[in-house]
Structures are given as C-alpha cells and as structure tokens.
C-alpha cells in the first residue's frame, strides 16, 4: 500500500470514528512513514536479497 493510499484510508477511518483531531497527526505520521520507506529503499539497494534467495 502506498503512503498516499494509506493516508486516505486512515483519514476516512478517523472521520468515521469522529476523531478530527487525528488528522494533523496522521498527516505527520504519513510524512514520517515516507521518510522511513525512503531510507529503507536507499539501503535496500545495497543490502537486501531477493525474496526467493
């Protein structure tokens, strides 16, 4: 799931649960998740073996 899809789904869920205060936190978490995934991708080029290995 992309971060964009995840955020859209999370915001919908927060709205359904009547938790509007979660919106800015979810948006901040999305930025953090993007950063984590980018860091993961940067290092995986060097370190990660293919899944079947």
């Amino acid at each position: 799931m992309t971060v964009e899809d995840w955020l859209r789904s999370a915001l919908d869920d927060a709205e359904r649960r009547e938790l509007p205060a979660l919106r800015p936190l979810l948006e901040a978490l999305a930025r953090s998740t993007s950063a984590l995934r980018e860091a993961d991708q940067d290092s995986s080029h060097c370190h990660r073996a293919a899944p079947h290995e």
């Binding site: 799931m1 938790l19 936190l25 979810l26 978490l29 953090s32 998740t33 984590l36 995934r37 290092s43």
Partner: protein
C-alpha cells in the same frame, strides 16, 4: 546529602533512618505545590524505618541502601499500592512488588512513595497527568521534563535519596538533565521489567536516578540484586579495565545539528576540559542516525497502541486528550512499516556499535534545550521552530532503539540558572564501565551537584 555520605553514618548508628524518613516526608509536605508525588507512603515508610533502626542496632546492617528512602515512579508495582500510571483510567492494584522493588527492599531501602509522571510515560513534560502537572523546582512555570518528572523533582528537593524511573525514549535522562541530577538507563534487558506498566516493550528500560554517579551505582547494584559495596571513602572506586586515558567520541551530524547555544557552549567546554585532563576527544559518525525519529515512531506508536487497545475502547476519556490521540494514532501504523522500522533499528544498533569501536564512550548532551515552559508545544533552536517533543527526544531516543547504556550527568547551568546535562554512552552490557567513566568525568570536571543545589533540599 548523598547515599554514599549517609550510609556509613547509618551503619554506625549516627544517623537515624526514622529521622531521615521524617525529613523526607517534611520536604514532600512543604513542596506539595510541585506535584512530585501521587502516593506518599509515610506510615509504612516510618514503620520500615523503625525496623531498620532496630536491625542495624542489632548488627544486622544490610548494606549502603539500608534505611535509605527511595521513591518509585507510579508505573512500577508496589504491593498493596495502586499503580495509577498518572492516569484517570482505572488503576491497577498489584498484590506483589515488581522484582526491582523487591530487590530494593531486600537491600534495606525504604519505599517513601510513588512519583507523578507523564501519563503512561507517553510524553516528555510531565504535564499530561491526572494528578496535576509536575513543576520545576527552580521555576514553577517550567516543566522538570519527563516522563519521570516527579522522580527527578523528588530527588532534587530532598524528598528521597534516590528515585526509580523508566526510560523508553529518554524518560530517565531527560528529567535528570532538566533538573540537574544523574540518571542511568542501563543496557536493554539488564534489569527486569516485570511488574512495570509497559509503554513500548522493546524500548522500555528501568533505572536509577540519583544525586551522584556513586549513588546511581549503589542503587543500580541493588536493582541487579547484588549486595552493594562502597569504596573506603564513599567515592566511586576505580574499575579494573578503566583506561587512564579515556577516548570520548562526539557524534557528528544529525544528533548535534540543533542545540540551544548554552548547551552547545557547555559541550565545547566539557570537551576542552576532558582534553586538558589528558583524555582524547574525537569526532565519530553514527551512520544513518537521521532516521532515528522515524524509526522510533513506527516502533513505539504501535507497541503502545497494542498495550492500551482494550482500555482505549472501554475508557477512552480516562486518558488525557494528547496521550489518547497518540495511542489512537498507533493503531494506524501498518505492520509492514513496523517491520521496516525494526530492520532499520538493527542497522542503527550496528552503527552505534561501530562508533563505539573507535572510542570508549560517546559524549553528547542529554537534552538539546533547558527545561521548557509548561504547555509549550514547540521550541525555537538556532532560529528554527520545531515540535517540543521531537527536540526533547532527539539526543536520547537513539539509545532506546539500540539498547546501549547511557547516563545523564549534570554539567552546570545556563545563563538563566537552569541545569545543562551531558550524556555518556558505552557498549552494550558495559554498564559498569559506563558508571566508572561517568565517575571519572564527574570527578574531573567537578560538576557534581549536591542536594540543595536546585531547590534547597535537605535529604
């Protein structure tokens, strides 16, 4: 007065544990405005002190903690006393002591009470608590840090001679730094966490907070279940293997990029002083450390959400709004991102190991800013505004991820008189070595802060 000063006098019958407990209780009563304690165990503490006095008089002295009043963060189970975790959600009612409390009692320590904290240890300012914000002893408008805020205030105000705190992102070291005391986070897993309400089980630590490194060492020995010993003068003894010339590594890059100017100046002075004393101070790189906060977030949030899931459903409004939101947020972290963060954590651990391969200890501040104003949400550092919580966690949370032992040491005050603190970090499972190095730094720099230096405690 420190434990190392008092213990020989207690052993000789010159100082009465009963009088010691009375003095601590008097300090608690005198500074109720600071909200340091949630539960004061004055009656049982006095009864235990009377027993200690009898035992010591009969020649059954247990060691340096015998008759010493110690406070316990109200996240840790003490048999027969509610564990509130600083929250309005229903308290737990333990029937048994946490193992670390049992060990303290076996060493003769007297449990004086349970200290206030940031609710469920999920914050760095100790102002989100159902028992009233904890206030800094030097400035009522400021926070003592957190989450073990009450523990630090109790210690520095002479309400006890040592405190037990917990540390998931810096919750022992941050309030120790803000209040000018010593705070030790041992190696992860070195002390048992049973009987302690978790925040993030893979990042949680428990440890001592004390006025000096020697006192922290004495309490740490008891927490490990070892019989405490003191040097002949009551000062930190030398440890076999401690090099005469210590190599300190100052991390370059991310960790020290943004520091309050007084904190930065103090680091420079400490660095120069250590070099002047003949030690070596080098720059070291911690590869990938910029990923620390993102890694930390994706581990702590879901682990905290896991523990609180049922209570969030049954008592959502028992939580402070900010803590409730952070716990709810944790439920949204995807499993794949948690796994990514755990993998990133392994790389960070290797990077810290590698940095420590070039030095005996890392040297960096414990807290990038002085004690913040209560209620502040952001802070300006070097002309740039950032969230307060992120700024307070920046220098400590890495070592919760990696499990390396770390200690906060008083290192003077800023131009407003607020404490500044340095942090030392050593290799995993080398906590005794860390304490020895910290003792050397404390002695060399003469930066030891005694009781009463902040707030006039009598303990």
């Amino acid at each position: 007065m420190t434990i190392a000063d008092l213990a020989p006098r207690i052993a000789r019958g010159e100082v009465s544990p009963v009088e010691l407990v009375r003095a601590c209780v008097a300090r608690i009563e005198a500074r109720r405005d600071l909200n340091a304690f949630i539960t004061v165990l004055d009656t049982t503490a006095l009864a235990t002190a009377r027993e200690a006095e009898v035992e010591i008089a009969a020649g059954r002295y247990l060691g340096p903690l015998h008759g010493i009043p110690v406070s316990i963060k109200d996240l840790v189970h003490v048999a027969g006393v509610p564990t509130t975790s600083g929250s309005a959600v229903p308290a737990l009612h333990p029937t048994a002591d946490a193992p670390i409390v049992r060990r303290l009692r076996e060493a003769g320590a007297i449990i004086i009470g349970k200290t206030n904290l940031h609710e469920f240890a999920f914050g760095t300012t100790s102002d989100e608590t159902a028992f009233g914000a904890v206030h800094h002893p030097l400035d009522h408008e400021r926070s003592p840090g957190g989450s073990s805020g009450g523990a630090a205030v109790a210690l520095v105000e002479g309400m006890c001679l040592a405190s037990i705190g917990t540390d998931t992102g810096g919750s022992i070291r941050i309030p120790s730094a803000a209040c000018g005391t010593v705070g030790l986070k041992p190696t992860h897993g070195e002390l048992p966490l049973d009987g302690i309400v978790p925040l993030s089980p893979t990042c949680d630590h428990v440890g001592p907070m004390a006025l000096t490194v020697e006192d922290a060492r004495l309490v740490f020995q008891a927490l490990k279940g070892l019989k405490g010993t003191m040097g002949p003068t009551g000062t930190t003894g030398t440890t076999p293997g401690l090099p005469r010339r210590i190599t300190f590594g100052v991390p370059s890059g991310y960790l020290l990029e943004r520091l309050d100017s007084d904190v930065r100046d103090t680091l420079g002075r400490v660095r120069a002083e250590l070099a002047r004393e003949g030690h070596s101070v080098i720059d070291v790189e911690i590869d990938g450390s910029r990923a620390t906060p993102d890694t930390y977030l994706h581990i702590v949030l879901p682990e905290a959400a896991w523990y609180h899931a049922a209570t969030l459903d049954s008592h959502p409004f028992g939580y402070s709004p900010g803590v409730r939101l952070r716990l709810q947020l944790g439920g949204y972290v995807l499993a794949e991102d948690y796994v990514r963060a755990m993998q990133r954590r392994e790389r960070l651990t290797s990077a810290v190991d590698q940095a420590l391969g070039a030095c005996d200890a890392l040297l960096l501040p414990s807290l990038a800013i002085p004690a913040p104003v209560i209620g502040a949400q952001s802070v300006e550092i070097d002309g740039r505004t950032e969230p307060l919580r992120a700024a307070m966690l920046r220098l400590t949370q890495l070592f919760n991820l990696t499990g390396h032992p770390a200690i906060a040491l008083p290192a003077g005050v800023n131009r407003s008189g607020l404490p500044i603190s340095m942090q030392l970090v050593t290799a995993r499972h080398q906590t005794d070595q860390l304490l020895a190095i910290a003792g050397a730094v404390e002695a060399r720099l003469q930066i030891m802060t005694g009781p009463g230096s902040v707030g006039g405690g009598t303990g």
